[in-house]
């Protein structure tokens, strides 16, 4: 059996694309990187096998819950929201600055990823970051948008947070 890292569906051996959600297995099939996830992450991932909605309507806002940080970040996303860490030597400021939470040590790039707001949906895009962006444990291909759902786990480098719609 081969468990889909994206949706948890148990696929038969030899399957190349998850028969449930269509995610490709190639590149990961023979080198499962599950060991890198810490147990806690795995638990939160398993708790909700059913998915939150992908609908993100008008007037909705985003709540970001960073692990070990009590107070969530709340913001209303514009057309494009850059997530990264502020580097005093750089001129640019990301819309969401993760530097106060130890982002530099955990491998977050200055311009790491972006949340793009579409008509009733949010998509997550990796901006060719050094350590990559992971959505629910699966690595994003740079510059290819992926639809976000309420409750998704996002990992940037080794920086983990969950995203909620409200």
């Amino acid at each position: 059996m081969k468990r889909c890292p994206y949706c948890g569906f148990e696929n038969r051996e030899g399957v190349l694309f998850c028969e449930e959600c269509g995610q490709p297995f190639v590149g990961q099939a023979d080198t499962p990187d599950t060991s890198r996830l810490n147990p806690e992450t795995h638990e939160t991932f398993k708790e909700r096998m059913t998915w939150g909605t992908a609908r993100f309507g008008e007037g909705a806002s985003v709540l970001i819950r960073i692990r070990d940080v009590v107070e969530p970040l709340v913001f209303e996303p514009g057309a494009e929201t850059i997530i990264g860490r502020l580097d005093p030597s750089a001129l640019e400021t990301p819309d969401i600055d993760l530097a106060p939470y130890g982002a530099a040590e955990l491998g977050v790039s200055r311009r790491h990823g972006m949340i793009r707001r579409g008509e009733d949906t949010l998509t997550l895009i990796d901006l060719d970051s050094t350590n990559g962006t992971f959505l629910n444990g699966q690595r994003l291909i740079p510059h290819q948008p992926r639809v976000l759902r309420d409750g998704d786990e996002i990992r940037m480098g080794r920086f983990v947070f969950n995203i909620f719609f409200r």
Partner: protein
Amino acid sequence: MIDASRNLYAILGIPPEATAEDIREAYRVMARRFHPDANHNQGADVQFRDIAVSYSVLSNPGDRLRYDDAHRHFRDEPAYFSLRAIPSKRVLSTLIEPQVLYLLLDIVPAQRVISARRANVPMNLTLVLDRSTSMRGARLDKVKIAAHHIIDQLSPQDVLAVVSFSDRADVLIPATSVTDKTSLRSTVSIMRADGGTEIYHGLVAGVAECRKYLAPRMVNHVILLTDGRTFGDEQRCLALARQAAEDGIGISAMGMGEEWNDEFLDALAAATGGSSAYINTPRAVLQFLDERVRSLGDAFAERLQLTIAPDADVLLESAFRLNPHPQPLEVERQPIPLGTLEKNRSIRALVQLQMPPSSKTGFRSVVRLDVTGDVLIADRHQYKVISDIAIEIAHEPSPEPPPPAVLDALGKLTLYRMQQKAERALTQGLALEAARQLENLATRLFAAGQDELAHKAIHEARRVSRTQAFSQEGRKSLKFHTRQLLALPAPGNDVP
């Protein structure tokens, strides 16, 4: 009397100089694989019939001698087309659970045979045109223009018939050689929109016209064009299509607008190896008909049929024709019609098999593939190619990436299947599940760079969760456009 053109030795998998003992042994092996008592797969009994006939001839010394003599001048005939199969894995691992194996099949016309003969194959074409009330206006006008265009393209060696139908059928142009183009065109022009849609009437009249000039050396094809849903006569239409396929007539269907029944048109086309398409603007009619007729005119071989006979412990799960004209194939009925093999395009199909758990290492047979077709440009009928696929099983084989061609095809097919899954979920009343599948599809479409389709999928997902229903336009558009993605040739995988 046995058809001397068939290669009985190939059917038993032995060389022509095989001894009587070899023949007996080969038959024993084949019977173990394909005898209906041991193997319940659909294609197996088709194969076993051939095997039994071959054995009965070759095991009788007198019959064998007569057959060898009659078959002699077929021995040196060229390979008219070939069959290639690429498995998703070359070596399977021993496993205590079943595993999936994909085969990418290519049926390739032999270029040598093509360049030796240039002439085009004559066509026996029947157009069956919907003229129900809903066609009034731009739709019917475009259909007429498209029909005119086709008349202009045909040559005097071709045969054309035109049938129009609503709740009854009229033969506008009885099957005739295309000589007086002016009068043919003006006959099409007088068509008027009026009445309901009953496809069966039109199809019966169309197939009857096509049958008048039915000839094995021609491409015999009926093209149905409708914008409506037919009520209650689907089964009769399908039975008619199967009969037509047996007689060597292919049917292609195209639906315009939003009302027509896509599953029905799919089944109709699949029954004969034809194709079906969705046309969302009247303008696209011309493009589709043009492409279809060009493709038929480019025929190298017609009435291709594929038999997929897995070994007794292997399961055939599905098959899909990717190219040309992507179309799901009905594996429950074998042989499977594949339609026309064009001169410059191979037929490509993806087959999904399930292998049983296995602990034994070494090579094992998996499936026998058998393709038969009438090679029109060489006047060779029922030309057959057989390919026995074997695969190695080993303990912990070194990992290998799947072949890019398989990956590419399967990736696109997965998109189409996700859309189908969403539809199925909704038919079962699972709106949330359907919406979730559509969101998954949107994610994959974004990843594939198909932003426009992805947005359509998101739109439908929202609609489904709100209203528990697809929009007709959105559903058909997603289905046929994800399917159409399959038709794009993978870079570097074109037929040489």
